[in-house]
Amino acid sequence: TVSQESQCASCGLGHPDDSGRMDTDFLEAVKRHILNRLQMRERPNITHPIPKAAMVTALRKLHAGKVREDGRFEIPNLDGHAAHNEVQEETSEIISFAESDDVTPSKSSLYFLISNEGNQNLYVLQANLWLYFKLLPGTQEKGLRRKVTVRVHYYEPGGQNVHWPMMEKRVELKRSGWHTFPVSEAVREMLAKGGRRQDLDIHCDGCEAANVQPILVDPNDPSHRPFLVVHAQQADGKHRIRKR
């Protein structure tokens, strides 16, 4: 009825004459809805794609992602419908790829760009740095375990080259492979200060003697580009929905 139409936004839709315009309007509304829910003002401007090799490796390494042989992504629960409809907490996994520029002081330096812009009120549950260690020719044949110590420092770009120790980990290497380094605290602090750039310096004690090379930002080796995985969730507790 007319009175229902005037008070109910969803009543009286679907007039055949307006179907074309309605589709366009709905399309725009849906686009805006998706951006709002992802807390973005506009769609990201993608001018240069991430090297596919780096992306494939990162997704392959994560429990959430599988990559099919044809290179397409097969993500469980990403057919548009999540498996658990009861999930109410908004969680995010952010994979950030390492970069290097003129500001980074040495070959062992790299940085990641992560911001809370567009991801407001994210609380970092866990952040791990992924580094690939390559056994150089002549080492693998021996089949020996090599023990090295990896130290991750952070520094402020443009500062007086002061490096602050972040973490230290003993790594045992039998073959070339990926290793993870927890950096949750540093990422939390960086985001809390409103920063967006995490500068790191990687030192490997014993790598040279063991004929081992940590792969940093190397354009010739995109498959082994370091990456940072941040697991986060919305920090704003008052909007959390609970099921009773």
């Binding site: 109910c8 849906v30 990201p44 409809n85 992560i114």
Partner: protein, 116 residues
């Protein structure tokens, strides 16, 4: 919940609306899924349908519905066709800084509609 298939006489139902991200040029930043089910609710909600199905099991709703069927409406007469069941959607996409983000967004997909 009814599906809008042209046979439900304009009653409150769920209209399926799928958007393929390739068609709107969003596949360069959204890695997965390939599209979005932007389903919505439409149709009329006669008085006797109010409260169905979301709260039909409530004793109070049953009593109120009896009043409505007899044309004696306590409180508001009008009811609205709204989503009564929503599901979470997981998305994998690039952000402004070329990071890959996987996000579980609750209440993104309309699964059922009803009068409330």
């Amino acid at each position: 919940g009814l599906e809008c298939d042209g046979t439900n006489g304009g009653l409150c139902c769920r209209q399926q609306f799928y958007i393929d991200f390739r068609l709107i040029g969003w596949n360069d930043w959204i890695i997965a899924p390939a599209g979005y089910y932007g389903n919505y609710c439409e149709g009329s909600c006669p008085a006797y349908l109010a409260g169905v199905p979301g709260s039909a099991s409530s004793f109070h709703t049953a009593v109120v519905n009896q009043y409505r069927m007899r044309g004696m409406s306590p409180g508001s007469v009008n009811s609205c066709c709204i989503p009564t069941k929503l599901s979470t959607m997981s998305m994998l996409y690039f952000d402004d800084e070329y990071n890959i983000v996987k996000r579980d967004v609750p209440n993104m997909i309309v699964e059922e509609c009803g009068c409330a």
